[in-house]
Symmetry: C2
Subunit: 210 residues, 2 copies
DNA sequence: TAAAATCCTGACCAATCGGTCAAGATAAAC
DNA sequence: GTTTATCTTGACCGATTGGTCAGGATTTTA
């Protein structure tokens, strides 16, 4: 039988464990160096595994990369899916920002992985962008637009508001090296300060002055 | 004589032209693929020059990279240096944001170059961060803090405000591939919409409600 | 125009790259 | 316990990598 990974069902315990180790290692490597800058040897070494053994579970570099992207994607999209159309606008927006910032704190590698892919022009994720992300964004932007039309939020272009939230939150994951240098101190404290600042600017910026 | 580039003075016209061609090409390549993901051959090809000839002007890959970083740095820092302590806070902040957004529009490769470097942990730029950027940021944050103390701006952590401005503006350069997919249309129009949104959120977010 | 400096190139090199393969080690099933 | 399927590895392959070098082409200088 072909011994390819992802054999739909019937996964051995060893298979389970090793594929996880590989994907964990691959996330670290790919998120730092991007697809082109990463090597299979690097991933194998980080996974504490020989290169041929790693290639026993995944057919090639690209397959590992895609697998990592897909495994990370859901986690990455979840905050936006949770935006509740029936909630209070200010609270919904803020808890969305909080969730995203929290993700930058707890899963910075995931953010960097996507950032690297985008920097290279998103060649291997374009279909995901158009197929999954775009409908989701369109849907949520319509919600935000309704809030605006109802006078609950200041009139801004919803999609650019979303960009702004993404940018401001993911920045703490993607540019951690820079931030570390410019504002040293305990990591948790930094994120607390970031949260305060984002809250002040976004909520004041979006809520109408009545 | 050693025929190394950067021979301080005495630069031939050919030298001038070729070094420029190399650095222009290197910026494009490095900004897309990062240091590790880029190859000298790639740069040479883009500069329309043989690899040995390219290496006649620069001693190696790393030297090209550093040269590109340094040439790009000033342009990248300029908007912040122009923040005028004696100006009107709202206007100064906004024109800073405008300058940064403008840079994302006209020089996206420069932004991506730094983004790539940060994603990899800023190994080759750490000294620049602490030596040049940090003092500048500290200085301008003090200015912002004074504005806050004078009641001209809402109380926020200045350095996190700066991060937020960086993030929101550079996002349009670094994630252009994503943005292109999610909000198609003329590039100029997108930047105009971005500008509107940033203006609304930042100014409303920062100016006290009196 | 001839000498000298600069510029440019094809051929080459060791190291690393992604990936293969045959064969041995280990675990599972009977 | 032995057969069978799964797992693991060292050795290897062609392609690409960063970089060198001897020598030829071109430009500058005197």
């Amino acid at each position: 039988m072909t011994h390819r990974a992802h054999n739909s069902q019937k996964r051995t315990r060893i298979q389970e464990r090793n594929e996880k180790r590989i994907l964990d290692a691959a996330l670290k490597v790919f998120s730092s160096y991007g697809f082109r800058g990463s090597t299979i040897d690097q991933i194998a070494k980080m996974a504490e595994m020989s290169k041929p053994n790693l290639l026993y579970y995944f057919a090639g570099k690209e397959e590992i990369y895609i697998a990592v992207l897909e495994r990370t994607l859901d986690e990455w999209l979840e905050p936006l899916t949770m935006l509740n159309p029936d909630g209070e606008p200010a609270e919904e927006i803020w808890s969305y920002i909080e969730r995203k910032l929290n993700l930058s704190r707890t899963a910075p590698a995931a953010s960097r992985l996507f950032a690297n892919e985008m920097l290279q022009g998103a060649p291997r994720i374009q279909q995901i962008l158009t197929g999954e992300l775009k409908p989701l964004v369109d849907e949520k932007c319509a919600v935000i637009q309704k809030w605006i039309d109802a006078g609950k939020l200041n009139p801004v272009d919803p999609v650019h508001l979303v960009y702004m939230i993404w940018a401001a939150t993911q920045h703490y994951a993607d540019f951690e090296a820079q931030i570390d240098t410019l504002s040293p101190g305990p990591r948790e404290q930094r994120f607390a300060n970031a949260s305060e600042t984002l809250k002040a600017v976004f909520l004041n910026g979006l809520l109408p002055r009545s």
